[in-house]
């Protein structure tokens, strides 16, 4: 999957910021990266992590697009104003994060936008890391129409702290409603989610007979594919990338990898 392109193949992509009507009709900005050409292309809703709608996640969008996916990443922090990603993250943290309902609405809008593209193949997945992993799982449970979901080290899917007015229900409690296959990637040194919480989530998926694959990495903790921070673990990260690309190829492109 990685590094398997043909050196004589045409490749082009367009990446831009667009406006998207999200939850409650609110206009939110979104990063939209898509391959050039007639397609048909599958889509991915990319959910950014807690530190924001940042450069790392734009680069992740570009990586997926180079592998043939139209990627739409709504700025879940749009309602808090604008600035550098870190400046906006401070405001979001001060107000105890984003409401789950906003995230669900914004991601559902992104799903419909991707499916409405004339070169869509009709299949859309969702993926996110950290809080975005939690959001991906939550949205996949609450919104119909996704063909695949990836949870990368999503904290508090199985709660480790208190529920809040903005996050009133633990995503694990929606597991019965999950309607697409799930891939989960976790570092065994992560403290949120811990190995024990991942076990609880896996047991819940098993109990409801859901289609899932979990991979757990030794020597890795939270956010181990974030190459802009010390948590980065290149060997585990690249293996995880292979798992994600294979999973999406199977679920969104119908390829057996």
């Amino acid at each position: 999957m990685w590094n398997q392109f043909r050196t004589d193949a045409y490749e082009g992509m367009l990446a831009e910021t667009i406006a998207l009507a999200g939850y409650n009709g609110d206009l939110v900005n979104a990063y939209f990266a898509r391959p050039l050409g007639p397609g048909p292309f599958p889509g991915i809703v990319l959910v950014h992590h807690m530190p924001g709608w940042d450069e790392l996640y734009r680069e992740i969008a570009g990586r997926f697009t180079r592998h043939g996916y139209a990627v739409l990443m709504p700025n879940l922090y749009s309602r808090f104003g604008h600035g550098t990603p870190e400046e906006v993250a401070v405001k979001v943290r001060e107000q105890r994060g984003v409401a789950d309902d906003w995230v669900i609405g914004d991601c559902e809008s992104a799903l419909h936008h991707l499916k409405s593209m004339p070169n869509s193949n009709g299949k859309v997945g969702i993926i996110g890391g950290c809080s975005g992993g939690r959001h991906s799982y939550l949205v996949a449970c609450r919104v119909n129409g996704f063909s695949a979901a990836v949870d990368c080290w999503g904290g508090n899917i199985v709660p480790q702290g208190d529920l809040t007015p903005k996050q009133p229900v633990a995503p694990v409690d929606y597991t019965a409603d999950l309607a697409c296959p799930v891939l989960g990637l976790f570092g065994n040194d992560d403290q949120n989610p811990t190995v024990e919480k991942v076990n609880v989530l896996e047991a819940e998926l098993k109990k409801h007979g859901k289609d899932y694959e979990f991979y757990r990495y030794d020597g890795a903790g939270h956010a181990f594919w974030s190459y802009d921070r010390p948590a980065y673990r290149p060997q585990q990260a690249m293996d995880a990338w292979e798992k994600v690309l294979a999973f999406f190829a199977k679920q969104l492109k119908g390829q057996v990898v």
Partner: protein
């Protein structure tokens, strides 16, 4: 350490346990200090953190260092351990 790592992972800070310890050690080299004094230092290291998140990190790091016997906590003040 588990508690400090839990806070780091829960708020998705780019700081590490070792970085947090180092920030406190460096500040202690200038003498004892109030917990609130280290908070802006932490916020400068991870500019995505609000005051409360940085305070949680400071508290967890100081507790971990105190448990190891590296520092003493007296009220809101942090002192070097007497060896």
């Amino acid at each position: 350490v588990a508690c400090l790592q839990y806070v780091i992972d829960s708020i998705c800070s780019k700081l590490t346990v070792e970085t947090m310890y180092e920030l406190i050690r460096v500040r202690l080299n200038q003498g004892s200090f109030e917990l609130t004094e280290i908070i802006p230092v932490i916020q400068r290291e991870d500019r995505s953190l609000d005051y409360d998140s940085a305070k949680m990190l400071a508290e967890a790091a100081c507790e971990a260092l105190a448990q190891r016997g590296d520092i003493r906590i007296g009220g809101d003040s942090i002192f070097a351990a007497q060896k």
